[in-house]
């Protein structure tokens, strides 16, 4: 090979922020070629997926509606990913949050009180956090991989949701459809601009991003979490306890996923149906990486993914692109991002024609 990768002494800051942009561009190119190869109008598809939702202001509120849950979940996940805690079961915590919040609404018996929504949201966050507490307990106490347990519990949560909407929570006046009754006005997320879908969850997602950014970059807890991920040995030496990190990362990410869940249920959905688990918990993983695991970056990452969702629907009607293509598009984006990220940690060097043989091969580990 005429080229080789040479590790950099420290990550290249420019590449760190340039690589998501390069990855989006490469994904657009790959998507264009792939969709064209499948027989669709590739140029129009990519225009609809990535450009149209951004330049056409009528789609902006939809972007916010889609981005809010992704951002809220991804911020929590990123806290964990930075600390080497891999919560990939956000989908389950999102579902459990919606279930817990809805449970409060259904069992409070159609109250008119203004406290209904705040209590539902609190219950939602708690529901998500409790669901994440199971993998946290198992990892902190027994070193069971949170990757596997959190994911397995997602499948369980979705089954719990199916059971509730088909059984005990089914709306008696719902013509036997498996769905809960619609939330009342006091139980629903307030709409900020009449006649639109712009709900309170959208500004809250932005506030959460800013708050977490301050905590992660300016406080000891944030420092502790970052060090635990980057240099576990140093963290132990400094007296940071691994168990605490695991609990913190999972409870916060579970709580935020739960909050996103009840926001969606009491917001755009207005009830719980079997279609409620839409995969936001998984897409949020892509958002977290695209946003460089940084809360403010995640705001942008969330909007990019929201663009692809809204644009995907546009491309579905304009060129007949199947909805599954968007999932593929998003996964390709993550793949290319991870590949391009190599340039953050390594530089590409041309190997000189003749190299003096080195005495012993040295080994360099990348931080992972």
């Amino acid at each position: 090979m005429p080229f080789k990768l040479e590790p950099r002494r420290e990550p290249n800051r420019t590449m760190l922020y340039a690589s998501p942009v390069i990855a989006v561009a490469l994904t657009a190119l790959a998507g264009l070629l792939f969709f064209a190869a499948l027989g669709y109008n590739g140029t129009l598809a990519i225009y609809d997926i990535l450009i149209l939702p951004v330049i056409d202001a009528t789609h902006w509120i939809d972007l916010g509606v889609k981005a809010a849950p992704l951002v809220t979940i991804a911020i929590g996940l990123a806290i964990g990913f930075r600390a080497n805690v891999w919560n990939i079961g956000a989908e389950g915590q999102y579902v459990m949050g919606a279930i817990a919040g809805t449970g409060v609404a259904l069992h409070a018996g159609g109250t008119e009180g203004a406290w209904a929504l705040p209590v539902m949201c609190l219950a939602g966050a708690l529901g998500g956090a409790l669901w994440a507490a199971i993998p946290a307990l198992l990892r902190a106490r027994l070193k069971v991989s949170e990757i596997l347990t959190s994911l397995m519990l997602s499948y369980v949560a979705i089954q719990v949701l199916y059971f509730l909407v088909r059984g005990p929570w089914r709306d008696p006046e719902g013509f036997n459809f498996p769905q809960t009754r619609s939330f009342t006005d006091v139980e629903s997320m307030p709409i900020l601009i009449d006649g639109t879908r712009l709900h309170l969850g959208i500004p809250i997602a932005v506030l959460i991003a800013m708050a977490v950014w301050v905590v992660m970059s300016r406080t000891l807890v944030g420092f502790e979490l970052r060090v635990s991920g980057l240099a576990p040995n140093a963290a132990r030496y400094a007296g940071f306890r691994e168990q605490r990190t695991v609990w913190l990362a999972l409870l916060v990410s579970g709580g935020l996923a739960g909050l996103a869940g009840i926001f969606e249920a009491a917001g755009p959905f207005g009830q719980i149906t079997p279609n409620f688990p839409t995969g936001y918990g998984f897409t949020a993983i892509v958002v977290a990486f695209l946003g460089r695991l940084n809360p403010l970056g995640i705001l942008i990452g969330g909007v990019v993914l929201a663009v692809s969702f809204v644009g995907g629907e546009l491309a579905e009607t304009s060129v007949g692109l199947p909805s599954a293509a968007i999932g593929l598009f998003q996964a390709t984006l993550l793949f290319l991002l991870l590949g391009v990220d190599m340039l953050v940690w390594y530089r590409i060097r041309r190997i000189a024609p003749a190299i003096a043989p080195s005495a012993a091969p040295a080994v360099v580990r990348s931080a992972s």
Binding site: K4, L138, M152, L153, Q159, V363, R365
Partner: protein, 307 residues
């Protein structure tokens, strides 16, 4: 009559266990080389759809299995390129592989929803394969026996062969293996390709024998169960065999109870069983303290030889 029922249930357990066993065997070899590939589910889905599409369009079911294995191996090379040559994070790349495989399979599988496929016939001839009792041993298709042969082969390969020793060395101490001249990256490429091929084959067994049909997200988390099984087996092939049959039994229990209409248990709770069982099993293993210590020392860590 009752005996017939027991034989049938036993055979269902074996068939349910076979794909998880195959996928887990592949992942075991990958992890023994020091790489954690979380993309098993994605590779299984791609194997399932590739196998099903080839089998339905050509009519050759065995060709479907080959296509499934090839699809899994091809997809695994994307993962290998990223984590081995470009030093990408293994957890993130594995997750990306699963999301990618899910997308590819549901996009390419759309024309095949609702189609049927000819199952592979029993491997053994007529009097053995449909004998009321002996069919419990001789009544399966070739893939079931292949999974057992693969178990023996992987166990032998890791324990007694020279390349197996090199693979374990690479997984336990990549720097040392590199220093004495073993090609760490090449060994890992080979291991990942093998794991991918087996995951694809396992997926094809799902769409061509277990269900047999194609539906979106057909494997429903079985790839993740295979990953958990490797931990459960403490990276030992023989315990993998036991674990796979245990999970086959749990999944059969779910199906049988649904079919028998166990009225007092809602079907949703039965559907949770395999996932809950996975969590419980991982917990029990950890309680016995047999888990973590047996993991290959370099599992999940990037390696790069510098000059």
């Amino acid at each position: 009559m009752t005996l017939d029922v027991y034989v049938s249930i036993f055979m269902t357990v074996v068939i349910a266990a076979t794909p998880i066993l195959i996928a887990a065997l592949g992942e075991l070899v990958v992890e023994k080389s020091g790489v954690l590939n979380l993309g098993v589910e994605g590779m299984m889905l791609c194997g399932a759809v590739a196998g099903f599409s080839i089998a339905t369009t050509t009519g050759a079911t065995s060709g479907g299995y080959l296509a499934g294995a090839a699809a899994g191996a091809a997809l695994s090379m994307v993962f290998a390129l990223l984590v081995l040559s470009l030093s990408a994070n293994q957890v993130a790349t594995g997750l990306a592989l699963t999301i990618f495989g899910t997308g590819v399979s549901s996009l390419t599988g759309r024309p095949f929803v609702g189609k049927t496929v000819q199952r592979l016939g029993p491997l053994f001839p007529h009097p053995l394969s449909d004998h009321p009792l002996l069919r419990a041993l001789f009544g399966y298709d070739a893939i079931v026996y292949l999974s057992l042969v693969l178990t023996v082969a992987v166990a032998w390969f890791l324990a007694a062969s020279r390349p197996g020793l090199v693979l374990r060395a690479v997984g336990e101490g990549d720097a040392a293996a590199h220093a004495i001249g073993h090609p760490v990256i090449r060994v890992r490429y080979a291991a990942i390709a093998f794991g991918g091929a087996l995951a694809g084959l396992a997926g094809a067994y799902y769409s061509l024998a277990v269900t047999p049909m194609w539906a979106d997200r057909l494997t429903a988390g079985r790839g993740w169960i295979a990953l958990a099984l490797v931990v459960f087996a403490a990276w030992r092939p023989w315990r993998l065999l036991a674990g796979a049959y245990l999970f086959g039994a749990v999944m059969t229990l779910e199906l049988q109870s649904k079919a028998a209409g166990v009225g007092f248990v809602p079907p949703e709770f039965l559907a949770m069983l395999p996932y809950l069982a996975t969590v419980v099993v991982l917990t029990l293993i950890a309680l016995r303290g047999a888990g973590g210590q047996r993991a290959p020392a370099c599992l999940g860590k990037a390696f790069r030889a510098g000059g």
